[in-house]
Symmetry: C2
């Protein structure tokens, strides 16, 4: 059966997350419903590079799936794009080797986290940023962010409910950029991230920036696995899965 890799975007606002579940609409459900119609009524199972939570967005999520019959990739992209709801966009579809796996073979992921620092909460940003109106010391936050980079056991920054056993991850880069219109952009790049890890790191960095945790809180949290050295989990609506990389094409 031919295997396809697709890059997709979605506005996570109206979804209960990526993965199919009993209560609430999900991205997977919408995509599989459409793919089934395009696959002569036979069910198609979608495998994402990783799940995203309710309210979390994606600009470059990667999925793979198998179809019964060969298909022209661009025609498949167009059919999938036009037949899924407007808040899901199919950026590209390509046929790949049957050994390709969107989750197990990913080598790098980039997440963005947008914080709106306007004095009042904008109605246009409420679903796409997290609002934070207090003072922040960006220099202190940038110093603290350096402690995230490298290979660490990130168990303390993993929410309960994860079934992953090995909680060691390598973070290549953490950048904090000031953007126009009172926005702060956090950029995380690494070989993988644990359940809610980015949001817990952002929550901790904001608490450090506001002076309510010491500058070396992240280093101490990683060393001692002490929960008191971490901040709250930042809201889902600021988070974007931007890009997933694979070492080399297999096809």
């Amino acid at each position: 059966m031919p295997r396809f890799k697709a890059i997709i975007q979605y506005d996570g606002t109206n979804y209960a997350g990526f993965q199919i579940q009993k209560n609430g609409r999900t991205i997977q459900e919408e995509l599989e419903k459409t793919l089934k119609k395009l696959n002569s009524g036979t069910r198609v199972t979608i495998h994402p590079s990783g799940r995203t939570d309710a309210g979390v967005h994606a600009v470059g999520q990667v999925i793979h799936f198998d179809m019964l019959h060969p298909r022209d990739a661009e025609k498949l992209r167009y059919a999938l794009d036009t037949q899924t709801p407007h808040d899901i966009n199919i950026t590209s579809v390509e046929e790949v080797d049957e050994m390709f796996h969107a989750r197990y073979m990913s080598t790098e992921k980039t997440y963005h986290y947008r914080v709106d620092r306007s004095p009042t909460k904008s109605p246009f940003k409420r679903l796409y940023t997290s609002h934070y109106q207090y003072d922040l010391d960006l220099d202190v936050m940038r110093e603290a962010a350096k402690d995230i980079v490298g290979t660490h056991d990130f168990s303390i920054f993993c929410a309960t409910g994860s079934s992953v056993e090995d909680k060691t991850r390598t973070v290549y880069e953490v950048r904090i950029e000031e953007q126009p219109d009172h926005e702060l952009l956090f950029i995380f790049r690494g070989n993988g991230f644990l359940y809610k890890m980015v949001r817990m790191l952002v929550g901790t960095l904001l608490k450090i920036g506001g002076g309510r945790l010491p500058q070396d809180a992240i280093q101490r949290a990683l060393e001692s696995q002490d929960k008191k050295m971490t901040g709250p989990t930042a809201h889902p609506q600021g988070l974007y899965l931007m890009e997933v990389k694979y070492d080399k094409p297999l096809d």
Copy 2:
């Protein structure tokens, strides 16, 4: 009774427009519901600078209303802001002379219209721009836009259903700007605009830019009132009421 002027923002996505109506939630309804609670249970009627349609947004809509008792303006703003839904934002509240009228005394309005020209429709822009993927000749559109400026009888650019008798308006400026991320921004500034006038003008300019109407179509439409010289009404989600000006403060 003290009169208050307020500047408000709203994301029009989840509303059936500004004005109270039988079917569907409206901005006016939400604001009046909250104001009634803040006014000892007595109904407060809101007067906007003008109505906006379903899906249309506002960054600087102006309203006025009367309260039974004197109030601290900033405390009133805060109460109104926090007790209305997240997609409505109260930017400012000030007490004004009892002769002030948000609609009759406005002297200038600015509207923006955002067009997304990306090859594919972005899930993040679907509610905040109108998508247009075809080629456009911006020079021709900018020439055509000059025919809008000035004092004209704009009846041909007024949707049916308007009860306004005098359809003469003065447009001070029409600008078409290229923005980052494949966006086109239309800026309209005038002493007032008729029902759906901005959206009909944008629809006509796009049709001119696409070569499906002559460059002088607007001039001919205004002269002959010929409907064939106009384009379709552009979608509501690209439209923003940006600012309403009043000659001088009365208080």
